[in-house]
Symmetry: C3
Subunit: 392 residues, 3 copies
Amino acid sequence: MEGSSLGAAVVFLPREEDGRCLMLENVLFDPAALWLAETLRRAGVERFLVACHRDDRERARPCFPEDTVFVATGEGNAQEELNTFLSAPGRVIVVTEPVFLLAGAAQRLRQGETRGEGRCGVVELSENCRQAVLEGQDFLTALREGAIRYPEELAMPVTRESLQTELPAAAKAQSVRRLQKRGVRFVDPQNVYVGPQVQVGAGAVILPGAILRGETCVGARCEIGPNTLLRDVTVGEDSVVNASQCSGCVIGAGTTVGPYAYIRPDTQVGDRVRVGDFVELKNSVIGDETKISHLAYLGDCDVGEGCDIGCGTVTVNYDGVKKFRTRIGGGAFIGCNTNLVAPVSVGQGAYVAAGSTITRDVPSQSLAIARAQQTVKNQWVAKKRQTKQEKK
Amino acid sequence: MEGSSLGAAVVFLPREEDGRCLMLENVLFDPAALWLAETLRRAGVERFLVACHRDDRERARPCFPEDTVFVATGEGNAQEELNTFLSAPGRVIVVTEPVFLLAGAAQRLRQGETRGEGRCGVVELSENCRQAVLEGQDFLTALREGAIRYPEELAMPVTRESLQTELPAAAKAQSVRRLQKRGVRFVDPQNVYVGPQVQVGAGAVILPGAILRGETCVGARCEIGPNTLLRDVTVGEDSVVNASQCSGCVIGAGTTVGPYAYIRPDTQVGDRVRVGDFVELKNSVIGDETKISHLAYLGDCDVGEGCDIGCGTVTVNYDGVKKFRTRIGGGAFIGCNTNLVAPVSVGQGAYVAAGSTITRDVPSQSLAIARAQQTVKNQWVAKKRQTKQEKK
Amino acid sequence: MEGSSLGAAVVFLPREEDGRCLMLENVLFDPAALWLAETLRRAGVERFLVACHRDDRERARPCFPEDTVFVATGEGNAQEELNTFLSAPGRVIVVTEPVFLLAGAAQRLRQGETRGEGRCGVVELSENCRQAVLEGQDFLTALREGAIRYPEELAMPVTRESLQTELPAAAKAQSVRRLQKRGVRFVDPQNVYVGPQVQVGAGAVILPGAILRGETCVGARCEIGPNTLLRDVTVGEDSVVNASQCSGCVIGAGTTVGPYAYIRPDTQVGDRVRVGDFVELKNSVIGDETKISHLAYLGDCDVGEGCDIGCGTVTVNYDGVKKFRTRIGGGAFIGCNTNLVAPVSVGQGAYVAAGSTITRDVPSQSLAIARAQQTVKNQWVAKKRQTKQEKK
């Protein structure tokens, strides 16, 4: 099989004596099995067969591609599944032990050049092995007798001890090296947490304390951090996310977020938007070039383009029983400390005066105001002070 | 004394030539003396005699148990106190130098098995030593002649240099190892700061940048962090504290806090409560299952169970002269951007309309509203624009 | 020149083959050239001659003092400029390679005592060298033949690799050691980011995750952090900045900021001020002893001394077209959730009632109120519930 491309992997997720499956324990924020699968995918693996305890399958499944073949160790049709899996052409990697593939492993596996004599828990099926298995020999026996070995420096064993000590640092280093190769700059490579599925574009700068989790994808030339948590977030190019937490949302290009913003799931933020400090967004759509500069909560809200949402604006989306949507037309201006009591619409280009509680729709190009008259009691403070002193 | 349990410790807190007592300098957030005392307590030490300069006693006292005997080095009744202290049975550890006991030291001291020949500043009184002292020999001379030594790897010297370089890392590692043994998981063991008195339950996960200080106690299966500061805080089981600062408060079970919440002293938060983003609590009691989801300040406030506190709610607890309390009955609903001008009560199940400033008590099951009518000036924006253009 | 003081430096900022100038790449938050220049200044260098590609000059200029002589490599009057530069007396350091000077280098260069045989990219001009150059010999040839070498441990090469791996840690260590010598304490020396121009006074404590950038100057006995970003900020003595971001501003003495405050450029905060949680300041002046405790935005605002700015206060500084200023006199009390619609003034000692939107000036010592009457609908909630049930 030398020279042919790496196409498949057989992965064992064994249980410890106490029934614990170490490959399903988290390294940083993801199971060791996911780190493994992602590295193997980058090495070129497209087809996976995973052998694990029947009760571990549910937790293992999301770590591998959807079309992965799962066989229950020691159960019925495992041999049959294996034979079908191995009968396709292409190189096959076999991971027999709980291992964490270190920085650079993907490339070495892809090239297949650095095979060694070590015992790192990762081997490659030789043609003899494959034939032996297809002819009925026990898989592990065949491996022991004729597999191609990889050197020890390729991987680190996943153990109770290493999970608590060396693996977090190894995982940090693996992700950092992977993205540095793509032109990402890390201000401090030792103080970032990047998951195995995360993508970051060239020219992006990741600041200390950034945590990039799940299926996060950050565009080119973004600046992320410090102390920013992105989980399952897509960020467009040239955006800045500073000291904020975002999850399950899409952030456009040229947009700035934070410091101290909180963007929750099902939110779509447009391009060149400003989501400032102490702003929460939830289940909302924010149009391009809109500014939500500070101290605001927009939930269940559709905001048009080029709006200005004043400080202290709150969408009153919940009446204690149900949640309702708020709609704000393009170019609208919402004054400070305003309540928008949903369901309610503010029309295009409309203007809501500061301090208003808006309960009825505002037509486009109109002004809505709900405000008490200002009255002044002259010298009230001075008189009050005098009265107090007289009482004494 | 071999085989008998470790019962007492004699600790010297010497001064440097310039009068500085290195054991009273901070390692992370606590004096080296506190780290020492806590490790000795975990090793089984119940009685302490501390010898320090008379002027250091006040700062040293909070590092040791309340019934600790303090003797002033070189003063009057020191020998008498020492004799009384040593006449009780049980093993006695003596710490003669400024030292930091490393990870694993508590267990080794408890077992007394790994005595060695090193000079690490920690020795154990032999029976001969004890007799010699009780018969009048100088304590330090007796130690020099016949103490049982502990190996060097037990402790690290506390020096001006080590305080600035190695000790912070050693302290981080000591606390992490101590809690990992109890089933706590650290996402990144190198990026957490846990004090010597902190307790954390099994199954809890501590995220990067967490700082756990003082007498903090975190329940089982909690998730703390990232970048969370807890100081003298008790957290119930299964709670989450995300990117927040809390001090001097009690947080219930199944409660979520943050991101970006600030809970100040004398606050008691119930079970299954939501304290969301940009929320400050101070000197307040929050009933079970109440939600304070975002952008609110509750100070000097008693909130019942199952309340919903709207975004932008503020307890106006200060009139410029005095502070007053606010009371919110169970099941009450406080609309957004509401002021509750204390002293004021909102009854059980009452409803306060968004945008209201409440100055008088609201009866239970009633609606309170203080809001100006909304008026709309149609096409006001368009007309204004036109007027402006005409002026040009 | 032995014995004479170090007075000048000739620095080459060469380009890589691909045209990239590594010395202009960032180490932490600043170009390697700035780190170099600052270390040389601390070593006593007062005059700089920098040789770089003509197109790199603009980016290089801010890294060096204003009177630095720039020569374009390989262009016209370089030799003449060099001769003029070298004809002044005093020791001359020459940096020929892209290097990062490590902790302790400034002192060693100043003393000139530890000259060695290594090749670290840093040499010192000997008297022979200088004469040869002044007599017309090529500068680099003269250096090769007769320069005084410095040992390798003085500096680390700046390479594509080191920029991504070792240099961030080296830079962190350099700044920490520099400030530790001045009596600054770092809770965790490995988790702080301090730029080369930053000054911190004795007795200050820097907590984990602090980022001090640009021309930041922190006073004695301050406490900065955790997770605080200061950029071009001056902080007075005895102040606390906790979990906040500040840039381009001045913060007085004895002032506390945060957690979660955001102070933007052109802001001047007085002494003994409280800038609390979820507070943003922008382009404002805050008088001594004023309290802005929580959830507020003051922009384009002049606040006197001893004011109390209530929770939820917002300066409405923007009407959609222009920005206006707000003025608050000394001793004024601004109630919670108040809008101050600029341009507007609140007089000295005046009192604004909570929940007011203030559009006209408030005279001093007077009370301003703009608030709807509170009405209560008794048993409204109960009746509503009943109606709903009857409908079912």
